[in-house]
């Protein structure tokens, strides 16, 4: 394809190639952007050009090596745009009872059956961000870039400069979206691709949304995805957000997820990482109004040389709110993990409650994890706690189970399910919980192949057809 561009080698070279690419494709990148979005892109581009990528010395990146990301000849595609694809040919949902509005992004571009942007009877809009920039510029302008932080080095400004398509959801005030929205991000390309999807989710006052976000690869090829999502939860709103990641070992995924909660709202976020060569999940939550509650949970199950990095930042900017973090991980073989959880309670955020917990099990001597729970508190009337553990499976429990006739393997698996269960059992959508439990069990038994289609989506092992958009 004509506009394909090869990118290669080392952070500085990679950065220069990207900046050239931006400049050379300026018109095409800006095509759908209103004046405000244009200046947002330009600002982001300026920051990226100045700061480049984070390095080993950058705080929050100390334990995660990025060098492998700069080694390959990635292709960036500005051409495809949203596309009409008969999605039923690619996926059929095999989850009984899990009735969702299912949308698909293929290589970062929205794929649709009928229309790139659907307006439901209750006023909810679901569809392509690219299309939304065109049709609902006033909504996009108001929220896009409003909470994603541009001042950090690297990936958020880069995404903001280059963003093309992604998921757009707008839920008006007083609307409960009954069915969960499920978005499946698929990477499927014969060549190494660099993708930068951008998602914008807005839920109005007293509104309700469940969003399930699945990341998958359908090939064993090298890919690098840099996703930024902004989720706004307005007053008394309720958002239940899931991220299920099951990606190939040659895939790298960096997600930056920004939440803003207004007064009286509730948020659940669950990040379930089952597989992935390199995965970094950043969750950044701003509690902007009183009486909010936020539950941020994570589970990561890693083996081989997989690396997972979870970064959580919670900013208690208002009084009497609650945040609760529970991240648990099981690391096998030479897998490595990072957890960094920071809670900031500002001076006027009295009566805040903030809890943080990270628990890890290392199954082999070579597996490792770096964990840093961290509280920064400026208010004096608060209830906060943090803790981290790294250990092995309890040998007393192992013996107890074996003494009743369970094999070492079965005993080990039962204890691992139990450990993971603390996170998974918090999932409130029942069919989703059941399926994630099954998926976790399968994963821990070593039976989940990366090509296994997600619980949530497809049961055809190979896609019957996906246009090869990168040839």
């Amino acid at each position: 394809m004509p506009e394909s561009n090869n990118i290669s080698n080392q952070p500085e070279v990679f950065k220069n190639t990207l900046t050239e690419l931006f400049e050379n494709n300026y018109d095409q990148i800006m095509e759908n952007s209103s004046g405000k979005i244009k200046s947002l892109r330009q600002k982001a581009f300026g920051i990226f050009k100045k700061n480049g990528f984070p390095g080993k010395k950058t705080e929050n990146w100390r334990f995660t090596d990025l060098n492998h990301l700069f080694r390959n000849d990635f292709i960036i595609d500005f051409e495809t745009k949203s596309q009409k694809v008969d999605i039923s040919n690619i996926f059929t949902c095999d989850v009984y009872d899990l009735d969702t509005y299912c949308v698909t992004l293929i290589n970062g571009w929205f794929a649709y059956n009928n229309s790139p942007l659907t307006k439901l009877k209750n006023g909810t809009i679901i569809g392509s961000l690219y299309k939304a920039m065109e049709i609902y510029p006033e909504i996009v302008e108001k929220y896009l870039g409003s909470i994603a932080k541009l001042n950090e080095p690297g990936f958020v400004p880069l995404n903001t400069a280059f963003m093309q398509d992604g998921l757009f959801i707008y839920v008006p005030d007083n609307v409960k979206v009954e069915k969960p929205v499920q978005v499946i991000n698929i990477v499927d390309s014969q060549k190494p691709v660099f993708l930068q999807p951008r998602n914008l989710i807005i839920t109005g006052k007293n509104s309700n949304l469940t969003l399930i976000h699945c990341d998958h690869t359908l090939t064993h090829n090298i890919s690098f995805t840099n996703t930024v999502s902004e989720v706004i939860v307005d007053q008394n709103g309720y958002v239940d957000h899931y991220k299920v990641q099951n990606k190939g070992r040659n895939s790298s995924l960096i997600t930056s997820l920004f939440f803003k909660q207004e007064k009286g709202s509730k948020l659940f976020n669950n990040a379930i990482t089952l597989n992935g060569g390199f995965t970094r999940n950043q969750v950044d939550l701003l509690i902007n109004g009183e009486n909010c509650s936020a539950n941020l949970n994570g589970l990561y199950l890693m083996d081989n040389n997989q690396h997972v990095d979870n970064q959580v930042f919670v900013d208690h900017k208002a009084f009497e709110s609650l945040s609760n973090q529970l991240y648990k991980g099981i690391l096998d073989d030479q897998a490595s993990g990072v957890f960094s959880g920071k809670v900031l309670v500002r001076r006027d955020s009295q009566k805040s409650q903030a809890f943080q917990n990270n628990k890890n099990i290392l199954l082999k001597d070579d597996a490792k994890v770096n964990t840093q729970p961290f509280l920064e508190i400026y208010a004096d009337d608060v209830k906060c706690s943090h803790g981290a553990t790294v250990g092995q499976l309890d040998p007393n429990a192992m013996f107890y189970l074996r003494s009743r006739g369970l094999s070492e393997r079965t005993a080990r698996q039962l204890l691992m399910y139990a450990f993971a269960g603390e996170v998974v059992n918090k999932i409130s959508v029942e069919p989703l919980r059941e399926n994630i439990i099954k998926l976790v069990e399968k994963r821990l038994k070593g039976e989940l192949s990366i090509c296994d289609q997600c619980i949530l989506s497809c049961n055809s092992r190979e896609p019957k057809f996906i246009q090869n958009i990168v040839d």
């Binding site: 309890d394 007393n396 429990a397 013996f399 107890y400 189970l401 074996r402 003494s403 009743r404 006739g405 369970l406 094999s407 070492e408 079965t410 005993a411 039962l414 204890l415 399910y417 139990a418 450990f419 269960g421 603390e422």
Partner: protein, 248 residues
């Protein structure tokens, strides 16, 4: 059924069992009594297959096989059961799931078909009544938040479900009130058959009011120093362990 000959066991270089001999035959109930630190729990652990100690010398034969070469789960499937002195709490693992897995592993070992969910639940109801365990305990995570008495009853419940050939109960009576003690004793008595055997490890004679042993042994300093009938337990209760230690 079980034959232990000249067993010498050490823990971190410290001798714990010093030439222990024991013969248990089908249908017998043996009580092993002894002061703290005499090696009672280590003996139970050796039979069940824990590995925190070193076997220095001696042999343990069970049903004609060298028990020491068999991993703990295979011992369990061959009919050995240890009632733990301190049952382990395992949050997140349900009793039902645990016991169903255990029973089906054993059935597989015996070449039997696994129990279906319904068959298993029926069996569980039956055994719950037998040991008077409350339904809610069986629905919870293994031993999690159980009182001391509940944990011990839960051991007997597992004993009832697994129907072992050789049960070793390690101080299952300690810390129990009289009602719980009766439940435990009743469980042991009801499960007694001509072809199985029980070893009761106990500190006090109290349990032996309810379960009548065929043989009573006194374990002291890592070996059995005296064996006798049930009257030996009464004598011990009356005269205290000093009587034995002086005699030896």
């Amino acid at each position: 059924m079980l034959s232990i000959k000249n067993l010498n066991v050490s823990v971190e270089g410290k001798p714990i069992l010093n030439g222990l001999n024991l013969e248990v035959k089908d249908g017998e109930v043996h009580a092993i009594m002894g002061p703290n630190g005499s090696g009672k729990s280590t003996l139970a652990s050796v039979i069940a297959g824990r590995d925190y100690f070193t076997i220095e010398q001696g042999e343990v034969t069970y049903m004609g096989k060298n028990l020491l070469e068999i991993p703990p789960e295979v011992r369990a499937k061959e009919g050995i059961f240890l009632g733990f002195q301190y049952p382990v709490e395992i949050p997140g693992v349900s009793m039902t799931n645990f016991m169903r897995t255990a029973i089906n592993e054993k059935r597989k070992h015996q070449g039997l078909k696994p129990l279906s969910g319904a068959e298993f639940l029926k069996l569980m109801e039956e055994k719950k009544k037998l040991v008077k365990i409350e339904s809610k305990l069986a629905n919870r995570s293994v031993n999690e938040g159980f009182s001391g008495g509940e944990k011990k009853k839960n051991e007997i419940f597992q004993l009832a479900l697994l129907e072992p050939k050789l049960a070793v109960l390690d101080e299952t009576d300690s810390g129990l009130d009289i009602d719980a003690l009766k439940v435990v004793a009743n469980g042991v008595n009801m499960l007694k058959r001509k072809d199985n055997a029980t070893i009761l490890i106990t500190h006090y004679q109290r349990l032996l009011d309810y379960v009548i042993p065929d043989v009573v042994h006194v374990l002291f300093d890592g070996k059995i120093v005296k064996s006798g009938g049930k009257e030996l337990a009464l004598e011990l209760e009356e005269k205290g362990y000093n009587w034995i230690t002086k005699e030896t």
